[in-house]
Symmetry: C2
């Protein structure tokens, strides 16, 4: 296969972890006789520094002309702590999600056998957990009108959803459930939010087209607790944008470290693959960041393009690394291995 991949490493530890994903992809290309062409481009704070824009045109054009984006991380403390900043790194990611029409973000929560003891949760709580999160990515409070009064004393954010936005991701979630354990759990705050009530109405309608699938409802507050306390009950979680952002991080504790979690963002004709973790600035350049999530995002990319054997090889490499404790210090505080060494192990494993 011949595949052009746009690589947007972004900020913080983005570049160093994405590098390990590229090494894994290169090894896979060699072993399985594919050609992956990487084209790197700027996004986020790195892009603002060089071009003044969080999503330079060149980057956007590149992504519009590729089917697959490999993404790192985005954000910078200097913007986080400046409430007045008008240009922000994250805007680059939002603009990109919009421009590429990425509306569904999915991730799989399934702990690795070898990491069951790395979680702050008890082994018996997480063992056997296996669920998917479908997070809506195009709507909600992220994208609609924001205002700040002239005197700077009153701020607003509008949360908005349309039936259409809900429909398209709902179908994806039900289809996924059909291939799994036939349970969809819709997470919302329908006792308070009008948008949540729209979600409940639309999703309940959609569920009628999937009679084999059971639809459950949970309020987001309760759900946040259930994910920690009884994660095995879930099969497919369907959730709006901001709630999905929060609950994905909660769910990451099941996998032992957020450094293990990758996600796919899907649109009609574009896809983006990224680690769930953020920029983790404290670790930048120190060769201590966990590269597994980025490497696993490369596996998601391969799977998406039908390269199932290839993706499996990457998964095996990661499992082997965990079994041999070739992991970063987030997974084993005594470890002597850094980002690069873990990445080398994975690509060498693939090559052998």
């Amino acid at each position: 296969m011949n595949l052009k991949i746009a690589v947007l490493a972004g900020d913080g530890i983005g570049p160093e972890v994405v590098l390990q994903a590229m090494k894994a992809l290169n090894a896979t290309a060699l072993m399985f006789d594919h050609e992956f062409i990487f084209e790197e481009a700027l996004i986020g704070a790195a892009a603002i520094d060089k071009t003044g824009k969080p999503l330079p045109e060149q980057t956007l054009n590149l992504c519009l002309n590729t089917e697959a984006v490999l993404f790192g991380a985005i954000g910078d403390l200097k913007y986080d702590n400046d409430p007045e900043a008008k240009i922000r790194p994250e805007q680059g990611l939002f603009q990109l999600r919009n421009a590429l029409g990425l509306f569904a973000n999915s991730k799989s929560i399934k702990p690795y056998e070898g990491l069951l003891s790395s979680s702050p949760l008890k082994k018996e709580i997480i063992e056997g957990t296996d669920f998917l999160i479908y997070r809506e990515l195009s709507g909600g409070i992220y994208f609609d009108e924001k205002t700040l009064s002239e005197d700077g004393k009153v701020a607003t954010d509008l949360c908005k959803y349309t039936e259409e936005q809900i429909l398209r991701i709902a179908h994806l979630a039900f289809k996924a459930a059909q291939k799994r354990n036939n349970i969809v759990t819709l997470i919302d705050k329908a006792n308070v939010l009008e948008t949540s009530r729209l979600w409940r109405k639309v999703v309940t309608e959609v569920s009628k087209e999937y009679p084999s699938v059971e639809l459950n409802y949970l309020f987001v507050d309760n759900a946040a607790k259930q994910i920690v306390a009884k994660p095995k009950q879930f099969d497919v979680i369907l959730i709006e944008n901001l709630f999905g952002d929060i609950l994905s991080e909660v769910a990451s504790v099941i996998t032992g470290s957020i450094g293990m979690l990758a996600s796919s963002s899907i649109g009609a004709s574009h896809t983006l693959f990224e680690p769930v973790h953020g920029t983790f600035h404290q670790a930048k350049g120190k060769n201590i960041a966990n590269p597994f999530a980025s490497i696993l995002s490369a596996a998601l990319l391969l799977e998406h393009f039908g390269l199932v054997k290839e993706a499996k090889k990457i998964h095996e490499a990661v499992e082997k690394a965990i079994a041999l404790k070739v992991v970063t210090t987030d997974l084993n505080p005594e470890s002597k291995f850094g980002t690069n060494e873990v990445g080398d192990f994975v690509s060498n494993f693939i090559l052998n």
Copy 2:
């Protein structure tokens, strides 16, 4: 002391757990020579059934004329699953919070020694955790304009905050931190929300008046994870309304069961005390609901009115019950004790 207490038991398990709190308060009154006068009134689904309104005038008037409300739980499945319902039980609580000017909800997250093993989290993660959550209660996406388009296909919820709303709770949080470990953690989503940026600006300003207190910032997604993974880092959490709702439930897993967690809601001249858990309808009338949270909300009430010895006695009773395993099945699956028996144990302990 002579104290009139409005008792709003509400829905689901509300009535049966509040009954145990009243038993504890009665025992305290007897032993410490106080007079507590309980006046019960309707709220929520129970009130809608009888009067058509979630907050009948009589209830409101009663609460306006008392300094203290003892609250149970609110909500009913028949409204949750009816996106069209115009009248909802929860509106009763929102109207009450507004009418009483309750703007700050606080709860203490500190696991009981005897319950360290009941948490889904590992003992070494939670042992020693001791933090307060200050959740803003009067603003955010709960109260502002909600719309649904004529054709029912587009819904919106407006999230709004004013400087004034942020100021008053920020001061409470910093004052609380001064009496503790001098750390305030502001939790927001300032990389996305304008309201969060206003919070960051205002709280940063307020912090200058409390030079001994360290102010930290966390994004809500990261914070949700940190509460589970590293809860000991927190001293005082300051958080807006909806995020506070979600993260409070996440934090409840630290206490072994949400059935252990009580909260105070504070206004200029009114207060309300309630368990953090909801109506738990599946348990209603089965004598299996954990009454500790409601009993502990009574202890918060006593503390608030300066009855510190009395509150301590209730805490001792709860600790003793836990030590002797006189607990409901959420805390000990093999337990033979029900809501009433646990409540009896607590009031008998106080009387002896």
